[in-house]
């Protein structure tokens, strides 16, 4: 199920501003890839090109290719909507639909495109997705309450449940724990460890320990100065990046001697 992603000479623009330059990266299936780097170096921008969310911003565009199992996501007859069904995303700030119940939030993606789903199938899907997101026990008695009534950590796990309910092959997470307390963070990190059995996971994080704990491979982005594009400096096994990186900049960054 999980799929491999290759980006080739990927340049990412906001209008005339080149935010990210020449990224060549391979993301292995059924593994966790962490993206680290200083603020503004284009991690979120890069992540959003992997499910074609980048182009939602007016004037934003991409040059180069993003291949998923050899198929270019930016090919002429690729439907961005289909790409996004295939590549789920969890955002930095938890964003359950406030007008929907917990149950409807989980089913939101499935109900798109007027897909019909029987009540019992829906019940099963809600339960399995919430189990998958480690949230079932906390919310099973209040599935009809609004999703916005949960704690921040619970909301984020609800968003993960919503993302995995449509059975994507890749899951992108942009600083999913930055708004959460340590306990919720651990819960989500455990969850990531379980999810990688089935999904290809790419996670952006500012937390070095988190990258070290959850990821198999780590990519380090850096930026030469304001107004300059961000670049992928180095990508390797997480253990290597944190112990003996090839680049001086990487070593400085992961050891906190940055800037």
């Amino acid at each position: 199920m999980a799929q491999r992603i290759d980006t080739k000479d990927l340049n990412i623009y906001y209008g005339d501003f080149r935010a990210v330059e020449d990224v060549n990266m391979t993301i292995e299936p059924k593994s966790v890839t962490a993206l680290i780097g200083p603020s503004g170096c284009g991690k979120s921008t890069f992540l959003r090109t992997l499910n074609r969310m980048h182009e939602v911003v007016p004037g934003a565009r991409v040059e180069g290719t993003v291949e998923m199992e050899g198929v270019d996501l930016y090919g002429p007859d690729v439907d961005p909507v289909a790409v996004r069904k295939n590549v789920g995303m969890v955002f930095q700030r938890p964003n359950p639909f406030p007008t929907m119940s917990i149950r409807d939030n989980v089913l939101a993606g499935v109900k798109l495109n007027n897909k019909r789903i029987s009540k019992s199938d829906a019940d099963d899907l809600v339960e399995s997705s919430l189990h998958g997101a480690n949230l079932w026990n906390e919310v099973k008695d209040r599935l009809d309450r609004p999703g916005s009534g949960l704690s921040g950590g619970q909301q984020q796990r609800l968003c993960i449940a919503r993302a995995i309910a449509i059975k994507p092959q890749v899951l992108l997470m942009d600083e999913p724990c930055s708004a959460l307390d340590p306990i919720s963070t651990i819960a989500i990190e455990d969850l990531i460890g379980e999810l990688k059995q089935e999904y290809t996971i790419v996670i952006v994080t500012h937390n070095m320990q988190q990258a070290a704990r959850v990821s198999d491979r780590t990519g380090f982005f850096n930026i030469a100065g304001t107004g300059k594009p961000g670049r992928l400096i180095e990508m390797d096994d997480t253990a290597t990046i944190f112990s003996s990186p090839a680049e001086k900049a990487t070593e400085d960054y992961v050891s906190g001697r940055f800037g």
Partner: protein, 327 residues
């Protein structure tokens, strides 16, 4: 010396700024309370005026009313007399709302989520211009232009879909019917509903739109899952503003509608309906004594309807507050 003097000076300055802050606070509170009290007082004054002036008509017997009010039918209680007016008023407003809300939402969504920026600005300005046209002009236009233009269409509806309750009866050859009034009122309330809805739709949090997009939603599905639910209470408020205007609209109705006092749903026919506002405006110049009291009783009915509409809208909005996204 200086060191011992300056700290108190600094702190006293700070305290003074704190005082003015608190002063502003107090002034602001009084302004707010005063404004609230003024609104309540005006509302109460209007209600009191209506009730006290309507009272003679409310307590009068059918004989007294028939004697004192021009064109008042024999053996009719005040309620039975005002009933058709209330019916006509509500019918006109509902027709206008049913026609206007879908169109207004369509335009608002187009402006907020589909049109290129340039076009959406032009379109928004055009819609706002519609609101600037005085209702007398709408009346003239409805009478001279719209009614003749719509008549063939009304005839067609009557001939081909006459089984539908609204489209039966005898079609007015001049188009001076409730149906035409409904269309004109709909055009009149379109701008306010569009403008408010557009603002609400534009305020949909990016976060929620992106959440829908990331689940693989098409543009329409984004609107369905994120924009419309978020804007729901705003659209209801907007509709109520429009409904209020439609309920109270006088001039256009007076000029277009050929009046009547029945309970029929045949909106294509002439001489069947009348609205309270148009009735008051039409009869006021020639009314005296009990006649005026009767008009004011009709006004009281209109006042009650508008209040009821507003309260219902509030209740509808509040009922699903948990899910409104405001928490």
């Amino acid at each position: 010396m200086t060191t011992t003097v300056s700290p108190p000076a600094k702190s006293s300055r700070r305290r003074r700024s704190g005082n003015t802050d608190r002063g502003f606070n107090r002034v602001f509170r009084w302004i707010a309370v005063g404004a609230g009290a003024t609104i309540l007082a005006v509302l109460a004054a209007v209600a009191l005026f209506l009730i006290s002036e309507a009272w003679p008509a409310i307590t009068a017997s059918p004989e007294e009313l028939a004697a004192g009010v021009p064109r008042y039918p024999e053996d009719t209680s005040l309620l039975a007399y005002l009933g058709p007016l209330v019916f006509g008023t509500v019918l006109a407003a509902v027709l206008a709302l049913v026609l206007a809300v879908p169109v207004a939402m369509g335009i608002a969504l187009f402006i907020s989520h589909y049109a290129p920026r340039r076009l959406s600005q032009v379109l928004g300005a055009l819609v706002d211009l519609l609101a600037a046209i005085p209702s007398v002009i709408y009346g003239l236009w409805g009478f001279f232009v719209l009614a003749p233009v719509l008549t063939p269409f009304w005839t067609w509806l009557n001939e081909n879909l006459g089984w539908f309750p609204l489209w039966g009866g005898q079609v007015s050859p001049t188009g001076r019917s409730m149906a035409t009034v409904g269309v004109v009122l709909a055009i009149m309330i379109l701008p306010i509903i569009t403008a408010v809805s557009r603002e609400v739709f534009l305020q949909t949090p990016k976060l929620h739109e992106e959440a829908a997009l990331a689940l693989g939603a098409t543009r329409w599905e984004v609107i369905r899952t994120a924009v419309l639910p978020f804007g729901r209470s705003g659209v209801i408020s907007a509709s109520m503003l429009g409904l209020g205007r439609a309920l109270g609209e006088t001039m256009a109705v007076l000029m277009i509608l050929s009046p009547g006092f029945t309970y029929t749903l045949d909106i294509l026919a002439a001489g069947q309906h009348q609205t309270i506002a148009a009735y008051i405006a039409a009869d006021f110049p020639e009314s005296t004594g009990l006649g005026v009291n009767t008009l004011i009783a009709a006004g009281l009915a209109l006042f009650v309807i508008t209040l009821a509409v507003n309260m219902t809208a509030r209740w509808v909005v509040a009922r699903r507050k948990d899910f409104s996204g405001a928490n």
